[in-house]
Symmetry: C2
Subunit: 217 residues, 2 copies
């Protein structure tokens, strides 16, 4: 740095490759998608746990850490930022808001993957175009779309957060599978049968996939 | 996972502490702030480079990787997402847009710090309240605000991107230091004299600070 305007400032950016070398493995995005209650977050957190035990640098992005911060709703933003701000930037569940929700998550997943981290995202992400947008940010092979598959009836019977009940009662509008569509992936890298197998088995299937692709040892 | 609705699904979340143990150091946020052309990004990238050489897991968030993705402007969002979407969610440089820009960056910095990463952010971040919002997401000692300090005249003389020239010509409106305020931190953890010292020296001052605070060995 200098006061002389003719001197170029060199940027010494650390490359993704160098970050991956420090971590001992490549970064990538594992994108879990499926209906509410299908087990996305459970399986993603289990995979994260197994990766961590193997010394792999991983991170989960899910409703717990994203919907309260980065993608907070209007109600959460109001107090600190005021009503107009909350109305413009706070995310609800309209088609447009879902689109922005997934757009931001895709961008953050890309940042984490660039840091050499195996990044697990667990969101319903019901629209195909939005998931494809997140995929487009990754190189071939670095975006692993995982459909956590269970029939609507099974998810609704589980209803771990009581959301289906509220949606059926009309208390929640635009609920995926009830009055908003779920567009299943056409060519996911992996389909997990969450109606027929337990979470432990499904998490192992993801780990096996990563091993098979040389993502981890 | 089971079809029986009475069975509770256990979440095996990896804690921040466990992620930090794998990395061999704690995560934190180093928040660089200062006028355009003060050298924030140069110093942040140099610190990142030095940390990486020391085997520390670090990441830089700056205009290069954030303004083209997560916080893209309306022009970049338009093609893929349409005009209405771009208008609502695309970020410009109004006070409200700057507030949302920094809010999102603070939230993402928190995600990275939670992954046990020393996270360096390099944005003008001109408003005190917005920086304080990012600080509020971290525990005491985990948010290190670094003022990269140089008089406006020096920054304007450097003008590495020709932005001051455009602002003076009225081609850019709301430019920090020209027709938009810069609210300097009142109690930054660190002040770097970027008018009087070179980037290498300033980066070493940050490294020394981190050593002094036990953040790195």
């Amino acid at each position: 740095m200098t006061n002389e305007p003719h001197v170029v400032w060199h940027e010494h950016s650390v490359s993704r490759k160098e970050r991956e070398e420090l971590n001992g493995h490549r970064g990538c995005v594992i994108w879990f998608t499926g209906l509410s209650g299908c087990g996305k977050s459970t399986v993603a957190n289990l995979v994260d746990h197994k990766l961590h035990s193997l010394g792999v640098h991983s991170m989960v992005l899910d409703g717990d850490n994203v919907r309260h911060g980065l993608n907070a709703g209007p109600g959460m933003l109001k107090e600190r930022h005021g009503e107009d701000f909350a109305k413009r930037f706070g995310l609800g569940f309209s088609a447009e808001d879902r689109e922005e929700n997934i757009r931001r998550i895709g961008a953050v997943a890309e940042l984490f993957a660039s840091a050499g981290i195996i990044t697990l995202t667990a969101f319903i992400s019901p629209y195909r175009a939005d998931r494809d947008g997140a995929r487009a940010l990754q190189d071939e092979g670095d975006f692993i779309e995982v459909l956590v598959d269970a029939p609507l009836e099974v998810c609704e019977k589980r209803d771990p957060k009581g959301l289906y009940k509220k949606a059926r009662a009309g208390e929640i509008k635009g609920f995926t599978g009830i009055d908003d569509p779920y567009e299943a992936p056409e060519n996911p890298e992996l389909v997990l049968d969450s109606a027929g197998k337990d979470a432990e088995t499904l998490a192992d299937e993801v780990i096996d996939y990563l091993r098979g692709k040389g993502k981890i040892k």
